[in-house]
């Protein structure tokens, strides 16, 4: 058969199981859009390529499958960069296909030419520049393989316009890539870890996004409960262990509860499963779990001992490792250690706000938490609202909390929520945002209105870059600068201008009831919640300090 490059890409991504792509057309990728037009693939027209990148990420984060975003050459590609870098740091499978100027014009500073290959090299797992249409038969399945295999990540395929149009003869379509079952872990690697668990008095599971990527939350719960090992998760791991379980220690690190970081200090064995010892989790590394032996299991061999030397380690699938461990560990009540954990929780609890004002952000989010059902997906932006959400909302299922953990990208929340609603059609999606972050991708309200998806947006409006203001208060002598907006739009009117239902919780007699009602709205809805700009996220560990040095609500160091 004879096909051009654009038709080859379209057919191969369709064969790969992609039914929805998102992007923006332009000169260099118009041939691809021409091929898409006659395919069965649904195209979501984002309003900014960064929006497209995060919509694709939202789909990928809820489905666990690589998703596709598209941009044209030059500004289309540069606008995608932030979402690609974000996918790299959070290990999200993403395939970005960019148009490029025609091969003959590369290197001439042609109109809308940028070196997409060079720009994306350090922020992708791998990237390609297609040199012929025939080569695409290999590159496209390989892009999906690289995106999803091992430690997932973003792949860029840069395609010059003439390659989209170049025709090539071939006999058969290549097979789509299918993710193989993960390799077994050799027994010899498991036994010493089981032994370490047996010998430990105060073991603790420190788990992260790797548990979600390997779909092993249930296995983790089985292991933890069988041997009564308390579990703390990273920001990326929220959802893998139910918060109401007595073994749950919630999130660790910079904004973890005091009892969590204190338990880590007392542990004699850390089972670091699917984590990378990020500085926001560990605080000052030399003071992290000072008394513990470290067992590190991660799919990426280059993560093992990168930050903290491991006594025992496995470079392999964490789910396989956990399943192999379960029969090898005994049922152990660990009454002393679990009693100690209960005592720490009792004596150093997460401090709720001193008043019951429903518009206090932690109180408001706690009320929201009671309204979420099992299917709800929450996305956040970046800032105080993100940390409050991570601290207080009860996440009971993997892939129910989408947040920009590694790159910390403001503007993630809205497009990721749209992607989540596309990727999980019957779920309610709640986007928790701050006014500052919302500015960064609010143009996507337009596509949200067009698609009429069940996305509820809650903007905690402090008219500030709140987390910046908090740092200026705590660490820069209250010298506030460039952290306040002197013009803030009426977000309700803004949403209504896009045709989206909206209201201000400050106007409601009963804000909690109004919030509950908004969550029932079948389509999109925006809720603005005015909050006190001087609220802080506590506890907090100063950047670079040890996790045991927590600043708490009362200002006292714990």
């Amino acid at each position: 058969m004879k096909r051009n490059g654009a038709q080859i890409i379209t057919t191969l991504i369709e064969r790969q199981g992609i039914d929805t792509v998102t992007g923006i057309p332009g000169g260099a990728n118009l041939p691809l859009y021409d091929a898409l037009q006659s395919s069965n693939i649904r195209h979501i027209l984002a309003r900014h390529e960064q929006g497209a990148g995060f919509i694709a990420q939202g789909m990928a984060r809820v489905t666990g499958k690589a998703q596709v975003c598209l941009g044209t050459s030059g500004p289309g590609a540069t606008n995608l960069l932030t979402a690609i870098a974000d996918a790299k740091l959070d290990s999200i499978p993403l395939v970005a296909i960019t148009g490029q100027v025609p091969s003959a014009m590369i290197g001439t500073d042609a109109f809308q030419e940028v070196d997409t290959y060079g720009l994306t090299l350090p922020i992708t797992k791998h990237n390609f520049m297609a040199r012929s249409a025939a080569e695409l038969l290999k590159l496209i399945p390989l892009a999906f393989e690289l995106a999803e295999s091992g430690r997932p990540g973003p792949i860029v395929v840069d395609v010059p316009k003439d390659i989209f149009l170049q025709e090539t003869e071939f006999d058969a379509w290549p097979e789509p890539w299918v993710k193989p079952a993960p390799d077994d872990i050799p027994e010899a690697k498991i036994t010493p870890i089981a032994e370490a668990i047996r010998e430990a008095q105060r073991p603790l599971l420190y788990v992260g996004g790797g548990i979600i990527a390997s779909n092993s939350a249930e296995d983790l719960q089985t292991l933890a409960r069988k041997n009564n090992i308390p579990v703390t998760t990273t920001l990326m791991g929220l959802g893998v262990f139910p918060p109401e379980d007595s073994l749950s220690l919630g999130m660790l690190g910079m904004h973890g509860a005091r009892y969590t970081n204190m338990a880590l200090d007392e542990a004699d064995l850390i089972l670091a499963f699917g984590v990378r010892f990020d500085d926001r989790a560990t605080g000052k590394v030399s003071a992290f779990c000072p008394n513990a032996r470290i067992v590190h299991v991660d799919i990426d061999p280059s993560e093992i001992s990168k930050i903290k030397p491991a006594h025992l380690s496995i470079a392999g699938d964490v789910g396989q490792a956990i399943r192999a461990l379960i029969p090898q560990v005994d049922a152990n009540p660990r009454s002393e250690w679990t009693a100690r954990i209960a005592e720490l929780k009792q004596n150093f609890p997460f401090e709720m706000p001193p008043n019951e004002d429903p518009m206090q952000p932690v109180n408001l989010l706690a009320a929201l938490g009671n309204m979420l059902n099992g299917d709800t997906v929450v996305s956040t932006d970046v800032g105080q609202h993100q940390m409050w959400a991570a601290q207080i909302l009860p996440f009971r299922h993997p892939r129910s909390f989408l947040t920009s953990g590694g790159l910390g990208t403001m503007g993630f929340g809205l497009p990721a929520a749209i992607g989540a609603a596309l990727g999980r059609p019957h779920a309610r999606v709640v986007c928790i945002s701050g006014d500052g972050s919302f500015f960064m991708n609010m143009q996507e309200l337009s596509i949200l209105a067009e698609l009429n998806l069940p996305v509820t947006i809650l903007i905690l409006n402090n008219r500030r870059l709140g987390l910046v203001r908090q740092q200026q208060e705590l660490f820069y002598g209250e010298r506030y600068h460039a952290s306040q907006f002197h013009n803030v739009p009426d977000f309700v009117a803004l949403a209504q201008a896009f045709g989206i239902e909206a209201f201000n919780l400050g106007d409601a007699d009963d804000p909690i009831a109004a919030l509950a009602k908004a969550l029932e709205s079948p389509g999109p809805c925006l809720i603005e919640a005015p909050i006190d700009p001087m609220e802080n996220v506590f506890p907090m560990v100063a950047p670079g300090a040890a996790n045991s040095q927590m600043i708490t609500q009362s200002g006292a160091k714990a």
Binding site: Y117, G118, L121, P122, K125, H126, N127, M129, L146, D300, P301, S302, K306
Partner: protein
């Protein structure tokens, strides 16, 4: 003093050198010398990278192996780094 040499087998295409040097600059690791050329049917290249002996060298090797274009990476102390000596010749370059 003799410096260690990383012996790399990589896929041969125009972007591979940027992938390798990019990793060194991203990870702020000094790359002292590069000797590189296609081998066999030219589908692969061999690279000798002269590096500093540093604590972080094992970590760098792990990250090199992780690159898709890298088929193998071996740290060699047996290579005579005199292969890089011509670089030291300060005299005029003969035309």
């Amino acid at each position: 003093m003799r410096k260690p040499v990383i012996d790399l087998l990589v896929d041969n295409h125009p972007g591979v050198m940027s992938h390798i040097t990019g990793l060194f600059s991203r990870r702020a690791f000094n790359l002292e010398g590069i000797l590189c050329g296609p081998i066999g049917d030219r589908s692969h290249s061999r690279m000798f990278l002269m590096v500093d002996e540093q604590d972080r060298l094992p970590q760098l090797l792990k990250e090199l192996v992780r690159l898709h274009d890298v088929q193998s990476a071996t740290l060699r102390h047996d290579l005579d780094s005199s292969i890089f000596d011509p670089l030291q010749a300060t005299g005029e370059i003969a035309n």
